[in-house]
Symmetry: C2
Subunit: 302 residues, 2 copies
């Protein structure tokens, strides 16, 4: 049975996203390689410069909206009146009907400590306590294994050029949207922006990332309202702590038939017959070790 | 022959760096796992709040100094009069004799656009054109293979708990300092801070990272004055471009006997007999795929 196509998936053949460069290999032989293109994008919220990000720049509007939402600079209540991207300037502007809390706070804050970044990070946790995820949502191990197989066999930019990160928005055993970027958080943010623009209900979704399950990743997933977060990578302690606080199901080190759930285990339905789930082959390991390498720089800080 | 010990290397047994948490595995069985601890650290430059970083918080002073140096917020000319870390507040303050350009610029800037982060990123490229790396420095493939073997067999936090990134400052075939952190850039910055405090000459060093060879990683290595940057991960196009501009030797996808050099190849001496260099085993791939997974969130931006 043919799996249904994704609504959004990477286009490794897009010439703007990779470049051929020449070099030498370990034998000293001249070789050509495909490398991922990263470009700076400066984000404005109305008149307020917010941040300059490095991105593959495939979906600047989704990235801009998602970044502001996930940083809690844009609240669900804020009415977005437009998102304008200027390719020459490498600038994207998100406009809202009224000035946002963030702008007001920032204006106040910058007159004192002058730090947008500190503020932004502080705001990440704001409203986190009040976040509620649907308890009735479930994730079946049979879905999980089909999802991972599907995701690992998608044509991706990383297969073309490596050094890139992937995230998928999934429903049951089906990935709906797969996005990649040089910054792990960019990929998450682009999906958040896409969900916002398409008014996607998050309560029955599963979020997959190639990156680690850190506090920031947990906070963003909770802010997006998605009850299940899955990764092939590991956990940080604060990520686990926050996931337990918010009632997020946190599944990591997810490879072949193995995984580890450190929060919200009660949503997991163990319906897969493990005798019929393949372990990852060495070939897989190679592929996935390259995939995992894609994890990395997520921006200016730290 | 016993290899000499490193000057600094991770202490996986340090109880502050990992935590045991319980969960379930793929069979539904109750299990305990070690996870990496990440803590927020807020950095001040004199009176100026700069950023809040997530870190394993093993070396806050090195991280603070290195971050400011690598972000070009602290110039070599600035005389550092003190670095104070307050464990209760999770705050580190770097004090300089005179107010820094960064503070002055920021104060000016914040009154207009109010964005510290944008400024910081803009400043990354400042002075980059004028940076010069020693042309006579060399890197022998025999050193490279010994370095990688040594680094891959170090006891590390990632082996204990995963979800962490590693960087090494090396001289010839010897890793001198190996540092890890939840943020790839934290590991780099901590080494920059350590080099600053120990007044380490960079011109004959080799820098190794588990993370990708992005523009930021290249800019930081050049700013640190190190002529050779090595990674097991891939490249981004701008990373390659900047490395060529600055005359940095950029070696990536470095695994087993294979690697790819996309800039500064002329520094490479191919002296290793490849018949005696092992390919990575599947076991290695597992280890390294876990290692690579450690790459990820590097902070608040992007």
């Amino acid at each position: 049975m043919e799996a249904p196509p994704l609504l959004v998936q990477p286009d490794p053949s897009d010439p703007r996203l990779t470049r051929r460069v020449s070099g030498v290999d370990h034998t000293g032989a001249l070789v050509e390689a495909s490398v991922t293109v990263e470009r700076p994008l400066t984000l404005y919220l109305n008149g307020q410069e917010v941040v300059t990000m490095m991105t593959i720049l495939d979906l600047p509007e989704d990235l801009a909206l998602g970044y502001l939402l996930n940083q809690n600079m844009l609240k669900r209540g804020d009415r977005v009146t437009g998102v304008e991207y200027d390719d020459d300037l490498g600038v994207v502007v998100v406009r809202t009907e009224a000035r946002t809390d963030f702008e007001t706070k920032l204006r106040k804050k910058t007159l004192t400590s002058g730090c947008a970044q500190g503020t932004a990070f502080g705001d990440l946790l704001e409203d986190f306590e009040s976040a509620r995820l649907p308890a009735e949502a479930e994730v079946r191990t049979s879905w999980l294994y089909r999802l991972l197989h599907r995701i690992n066999t998608l044509p991706t930019l990383y297969l073309e050029a490596g050094a890139i990160h992937g995230c998928a928005l999934c429903e049951r055993d089906r990935p709906l949207v797969y996005m990649e970027d040089v910054g792990r958080h960019n990929a998450v943010d682009k999906i958040a922006g896409w969900m916002f623009r398409h008014d996607t209900a998050p309560g029955d979704k599963i979020f997959y990332t190639t990156g680690r399950l850190t506090s920031e990743m947990v906070i963003k997933t909770v802010r997006m309202g998605i009850p299940v977060l899955v990764s092939r990578s590991g956990f940080t302690a604060w990520g686990v702590e926050l996931a337990r606080q918010a009632g997020l199901t946190l599944i990591g080190r997810c490879k072949g038939r193995r995984f580890l759930a450190l929060a919200g285990q009660d949503r997991i339905v163990f319906d897969a017959d493990l005798r019929y789930v393949e372990e990852e082959s060495a070939k897989h390991w190679r592929k996935n070790s390259r995939e995992a390498e894609a994890a990395g720089s997520d921006g200016a800080a730290g």
